[in-house]
Amino acid sequence: MKVVAVGDIDFIAGFQLAGVKEVYESNDASKAKNTLEKIKERKDVAIVLIQRKFAKELRNYINEWKFNKGIYPIILELPDHKDNEEYEDPMSEIIKRAIGVDLNKR
């Protein structure tokens, strides 16, 4: 199955260099959302790489998608070179819901 990347021009250039064939350039969150909407319909995508700055804005949309999807595709949020600030890990929310404690705050 395929790997796709959604992000701005630098983000997708990086993954193109790595050999990701399907990349979708988007300059803002709403365009990224449109692209994700199209990817959601497809069955041949294994991994969706999305730039963190878009994922942050589309948090609700992505969570809903994650909740309703099967095993694939896996949505992976990745930072770009500008992401330095601390950010809230969506995974810790999932962990907290599952076992009741936040392990990352030990």
Binding site: I71, P79, H81, M91, I94, A98
Partner: protein, 212 residues
């Protein structure tokens, strides 16, 4: 005390049936709580893997991107983007599923060991080569990370479900069965006692009549 099940007739048949149901529920509760514990221990194991992998991916990704930006500064963004478009795509990832305690989790494999750079050296900078090689290295870790995060999500969902079931059995179904069982037993005992006395009474009446 939990409520009894509504619409139950206090008969021996019902009592046997409810006992059977309670046994089933208790068995189910035991199995499910074992499943939950096993899933959680699996979950703990994988969280540590995920955290270290995530850190590794993020830091190396940052490095790769800063190399890419350097290359863009040297060659110009448009030519970097042009080169990126020409790169031969890697093979597709092969996806299968793995079964952890009845939960299907993703497993992915990637076969591409390309160390060759397919673009010309004339118009590109060495920084771009570095960035490309770094991105290729990361790709393997990214696929692994995707696998692990997908597994965590699926496991978390299953744990939530199992927990809910365990709690429902423990706090609602089993107490309810127990209460109903007790209620029926009480009613039956009471009836038996009534019967016993009725018989005694009849016996004494009959005895009195025979004597007279």
């Amino acid at each position: 005390m939990a409520d009894i099940i509504e619409g139950v007739k206090p008969t021996r048949m019902q009592l046997l049936e409810i006992r059977k149901k309670r046994k089933l529920a208790e068995n189910g509760h035991k199995l499910l709580s074992e499943k939950r514990d096993a899933l959680i221990s699996e979950f703990f194991k994988i969280i540590d893997v995920r955290n270290s992998l995530r850190k590794k991916v993020e830091s190396s990704l940052k490095e790769a991107f800063s190399d890419l930006i350097d290359a863009e500064m040297i060659m110009g963004r448009t030519s970097v983007v042009d080169v990126a478009r020409q790169i031969e795509p890697m093979d597709e990832v092969k996806t299968t599923t793995m079964n952890i305690m009845g939960v299907l989790t993703p497993q992915m494999e990637m076969f591409s060991d390309k160390n060759q750079l397919e673009y010309g050296f004339l118009h590109t900078s060495a920084k771009l080569d570095e960035a490309t090689l770094k991105f290729r290295d990361i790709m393997r870790d990214i696929v692994k990370l995707a696998e692990v995060e997908g597994t965590i999500e699926d496991l978390a969902r299953e744990i939530e479900k199992t927990k809910r079931r365990v709690n429902a059995l423990e706090h609602i179904f089993i107490p309810r069965f127990k209460a109903t069982e007790k209620y029926i037993e009480l009613v039956l005992d009471e009836r038996e006692r009534e019967d016993f006395f009725r018989r005694k009474r009849i016996k004494s009446i009959l005895a009195a009549r025979n004597n007279a």
